[in-house]
Structure formats: structure tokens, C-alpha cells
């Protein structure tokens, strides 16, 4: 684990560099013929959306490993991934909503992607609430890990069912709801931002991991000291 502590600053600097490069590319990117300046929102929205799912995938992988091997470090990693994912999801929703206002004419549309994202956010919040509501650390870890798995199974069903609902029940009335095709000069900044956001996610994840691990160590230490004080008054 010592390697992670050494890696973290490196990751931070690389991310910063990529973000600056991405920002420069975005500022100089040509405007889209149809969507004008609003295309610049996509450079932030799409990487955030990818990361919100990627962090959930990471939490799922760690939870499976935890349930399988009962290794506490996997539980720490899973716990640390949740708030990071929630952060990305919140930005995805906010930027999607702000993008929707000029493009669709409304702040919100119940399409498959937005609905799944909203459910994902509630799921992240529920996971944090569940984690903090159970005092027994082993029980809380197990319950959260199982809940992560249930969510991982449910998310595709939600996406699929909302999509189905939209096509069978109310054909898209908003028009142009899909992500526009992006090519050439517009693609490079998107790729740079996607890589930069993977770095940002990794950095934030490492940061949360340090916090969660330190918090658990502190709790254990203070618990031990209390017992010690009780033994020798």
C-alpha cells in the first residue's frame, strides 16, 4: 500500500497537466455547426458521466473481492469509491440539465440516461447512509457490499426499462435527444478530458482511501485507549 501513497502526488500532477491541456484545447476548439458553443459542455459532461459509472464499477469490483476474500483493504477501497462516484454523478446531472435547457427547452427530460443517472445518485447516497447507519463495522461492510452488488444488477435493468418505456409508450417528443456525433477537431479535447478525468477520479479515490483508512485506524486506537483507561483508572 505504500506504493499508493507515493503514486498519489504523481497522479495529481499528471491530472493537473492534462486538465490544463484539455482546458486550452476546449477554449480553442471550433464551434459545432449545429450546436454552437454548447458543444463545449459535452467535454465536461461526457467524461463526468463515464467516471460516475466507472467509480461504481470500481466499488462493485472491490465489494465482490471483499465478500470473497474478507480482506478489509477491499472494503476501505469500496467505501472510498462511493463519495467520489456521487460527486461525478452530481456534476453529470447538473451539466446535463444545464445543457438540456437550451437544447431541449427544459431543464429535465425523463430519458433513459438522465433517469439512470438520477437513480445512480440516489444509490450512492443510500450507500453512504447505509454505511453510517450500522455501528458494527463487519456488519456494515457486508451490508454495504451486498447493496453495491444489488445496485450493479439493477442499474442495467433500469436503463433498459426506461429506454423501452420511452420507445413503446411515448416516442421521444423532444427531438435530438441523443448525444450528437462528434468528430475530428472536436474529438481530441474530449479524449484528453476523458483521460484527465480518469486521473482526477483516481486521485480523489486515493484521497478518500487515505481518509477512510486513517479514520478507521484512529477509531481503533481511541477505542483501545479507552479500554486501557478503564483497566487502569
Amino acid at each position: 500500500m505504500k506504493r499508493l501513497a507515493k503514486l498519489q502526488p504523481l497522479l495529481g500532477w499528471a491530472t493537473l497537466l492534462l486538465l490544463v491541456a484539455g482546458g486550452w484545447l476546449i477554449a480553442n476548439a471550433p464551434m459545432d455547426f449545429q450546436q454552437g458553443n454548447s458543444v463545449r459542455i459535452i467535454y465536461l459532461h461526457v467524461p463526468s458521466a463515464k467516471m460516475s459509472l466507472l467509480m461504481y464499477l470500481a466499488a462493485t469490483a472491490c465489494s465482490v473481492m471483499y465478500l470473497w476474500k474478507k480482506n478489509e483493504s477491499m472494503d476501505i477501497l469500496a467505501e472510498a469509491a462511493v463519495p467520489v462516484g456521487a460527486l461525478f454523478t452530481a456534476v453529470t446531472l447538473a451539466s446535463g440539465s444545464i445543457w438540456g435547457k437550451p437544447m431541449w427547452g427544459t431543464w429535465w427530460a425523463w430519458d433513459a440516461r438522465l433517469t439512470s443517472m438520477l437513480v445512480l445518485l440516489i444509490l450512492y447516497v443510500g450507500l453512504m447512509a447505509l454505511r453510517s447507519a450500522i455501528d458494527n463495522p463487519v456488519k456494515s461492510a457486508q451490508a454495504t457490499a451486498v447493496m453495491v452488488l444489488i445496485g450493479a444488477v439493477d442499474l442495467p435493468i433500469i436503463h433498459f426499462s426506461v429506454q423501452w418505456w420511452r420507445t413503446l409508450h411515448q416516442p421521444a417528443s423532444l427531438g435530438g435527444g441523443g448525444t450528437p456525433r462528434i468528430e475530428g477537431a472536436l474529438l481530441t479535447p474530449l479524449l484528453v478530458m476523458a483521460v484527465a478525468f480518469i486521473g482526477l477520479g483516481g486521485y480523489l479515490w486515493a484521497l478518500r482511501t487515505r481518509t477512510v483508512a486513517a479514520q478507521r485506524q484512529l477509531d481503533a486506537l481511541e477505542h483501545a485507549e479507552e479500554d486501557h483507561d478503564d483497566a487502569h483508572p
Partner: protein, 58 residues
């Protein structure tokens, strides 16, 4: 869809401001939190878990 007549710049600025505030705020507060907790750990004379060598006892 027709050629845009709307000026999207305020929306673009809004999105980047939100992102900057949310990501920047999280980065700042989580860094602070991690540093504070690890500082308290060192005051207790313990090595943070992440800086420990593999196999080192707690």
C-alpha cells in the same frame, strides 16, 4: 434542427463554474481532511496504513 440563434455562452460558463466549484471544493476539503486525520494518527505514534510497508504490524 436549425442553425443556432441562441447564445449558449452563459450555459457553458455555468457548467464550468459548477464543475470547478464541486470538484475543486471536494479536492480541497478532502485533502484537508486526509491531512488532519493522518496528523492526528502520527500524534498517537501510529503510521498511517497507506504509508506502511507490506507486512508491517499495525
Amino acid at each position: 434542427m436549425t442553425t443556432p440563434t441562441l447564445d449558449y455562452t452563459p450555459y457553458v460558463l455555468a457548467v464550468y463554474t459548477v464543475a470547478l466549484v464541486v470538484y475543486g471544493g471536494a479536492l480541497w476539503s478532502w485533502r484537508r481532511q486526509a491531512a488532519q486525520l493522518e496528523q492526528r494518527l502520527r500524534e498517537h505514534g501510529a503510521t498511517p496504513w497507506l504509508e506502511r510497508n507490506p507486512g508491517e504490524p499495525s
